[in-house]
């Protein structure tokens, strides 16, 4: 028996449960009651409100990614410069919350923003239902996903390069911007991809923290499926998902391009 046949069960599984389900999105987007048509799809696409939500989601996802990068880079940098045993322990502390159910943590934030913080600040209004609150909890949820790849890249950085840079007369700041930062680009890129795409599709945080005032693109899709699916109408949700997939594809393509470019550059 040849070893390659061991992949056979998986290939059957892959076709049934990875390829076929993807086909359904395209089927339901362009097929209404058994006939192929662009009508339903066009109706969804010409709804300006959907595009406004997409724009808002991209903006919030950009904000989340930028803040995560600004907060996460120093964490990863400090950890990578610590003694290995200490850094290993502290980095675990940063990743523990990832294992704890994130719906539960988001729920806790709602309680904090709704009751605890206002009573500490002595204000009558709750802090939930604001764009700032949604942004903050999104940053909270995705920060470990930014720190992890950055820490992995930075801790593998060859320390003798830093010494070389110092020997050649660069000060700490210059060494950071000319040596450390360019070499950590792969980590930055994978951090950004790990935060940006999930941030566009997050629908729990806007639902729990935004009080429905800041529905993002994920909420549009969720509602299209949860509300309309009972009537067997998947077309709106499917069309919205195709747009989402295109966005994901574009952002991964940009990221890959950027990553390769820089890697090539660093060899030169």
């Amino acid at each position: 028996m040849k070893r390659k046949y061991f992949a056979f069960p998986y290939i059957v599984w892959m076709v049934l449960f990875i390829v076929v389900p993807m086909v359904f999105i395209f089927y339901y987007a362009f097929n209404v009651d058994g006939t192929w048509t662009f009508r339903k799809c066009w109706e969804t696409l010409s709804d300006g409100q959907k595009w406004r939500v997409l724009l808002l989601s991209v903006e919030i996802a950009f904000g989340t990614t930028a803040i995560c990068l600004l907060l996460g880079y120093p964490i990863a940098y400090i950890l990578s410069n610590m003694k290995k045993s200490v850094a290993g322990f502290i980095s675990v502390l940063f990743f523990v919350p990832m294992w704890m159910n994130f719906v539960l943590r988001t729920y806790a934030w709602r309680a904090i923003l709704e009751y605890a913080l206002p009573s500490i600040l002595g204000s009558k209004t709750t802090l939930t239902g604001t764009a700032g609150a949604v942004l903050m909890v999104l940053v909270y949820d995705f920060l470990p996903f930014m720190v992890m790849p950055l820490y992995n890249t930075l801790s593998k950085l060859d320390k003798s390069l830093l010494e070389a840079s110092r020997d050649l007369g660069a000060d700490g700041v210059k060494t950071f911007f000319r040596v450390v930062l360019p070499l950590s680009v792969p980590g930055i890129v994978s951090g950004i991809t790990m935060v940006f795409v999930p941030a566009i599709t997050a629908f729990t945080v806007p639902a729990l923290i935004g009080n429905g005032n800041y529905n993002l693109y994920g909420n549009e899709i969720e509602q299209a499926f949860k509300v309309l699916a009972g009537k067997g109408d998947y077309s709106i949700g499917s069309t919205l998902s195709i747009i989402l997939l295109i966005c994901v594809l574009i952002s991964t393509a940009i990221m890959n391009h950027f990553d390769n470019d820089k890697e090539g550059g660093s060899i030169l």
Binding site: M1, P9, M14, I25, V103, A111, Y140, L244
Partner: protein, 289 residues
Amino acid sequence: MKKFGRSLKYVYLGVMLLFLYLPIIYLIVFSFNDFAVGSGRRISYSNLGKWNGCTLANYGTVFSGDAGSSLLLTLEIAFASSIIATIIGTAAAIGINSMRKRPRNIVVNVSQLPMVNPDLVTGITFMMLFAFVNGVLGKLGKFQIGDFAKLLIAHISFSIPYVIFSVLPRLKQSSDLLYEAALDLGCSPIQALWKAVIPDIMPGISSGFIMALTMSLDDFVVSYFVADRIQPLSVFIYSNTAHGSKGVNPALATIIFIPLVAMLLIVNLRRLAKEREYEIQNKKVKMKK
């Protein structure tokens, strides 16, 4: 100045850790809160901001109602799906590794799809698939795919790629000669795999299993779209907290958090101890020289 800089670093890490742990600490503190309200002593978790006094009552009721069965379901699905995913995924990785270049590239690229796809898309595609299949089965008058089977299939599917991609690098490192040698020494192909190849790639298999387990335990979005009647823990929490409903017993946070921290601490302290031992041994070897 240097000392100041160093303490500033620790302050920054401390503040960030506080930010990450604040909601967890908040829930644990409130798990000791007395939630009984009104003359009927009705329990209401909806107000998580008002301190009514200390009690351990929440821990007595933490598994009562749907919470207990949800937690059990989550654990069942997680272990069943990650064991099956590990078996299929390891076999797949062994197969993929000995494929020729073109079919291998196709399989590897398709396998990356579930990892790149947002959870939301994975969830809705499974929802449509099962609705379609159940529709067809319904017309034929046959049985329907139940919620447990749906959850299991979905969880296995999104876990398998993580197993494959943690086993594949190991297989690439391990030499093909190992398998050949085992055959030459009289093993049947199955024995050769079982006795020579599998032990060699075991670290990859176990880290794939851990990844699959983590993915399954952590999943909310896919389960939310796939299951109709039964609720894994994350769906239970969401449906009880969204849309202004009754809230969730905060003792649940402690129940999840304490074993998690204990496990991670044990694993890490062990690793630290091993590293220390290794260092000491290295020193001894050097001294002998």
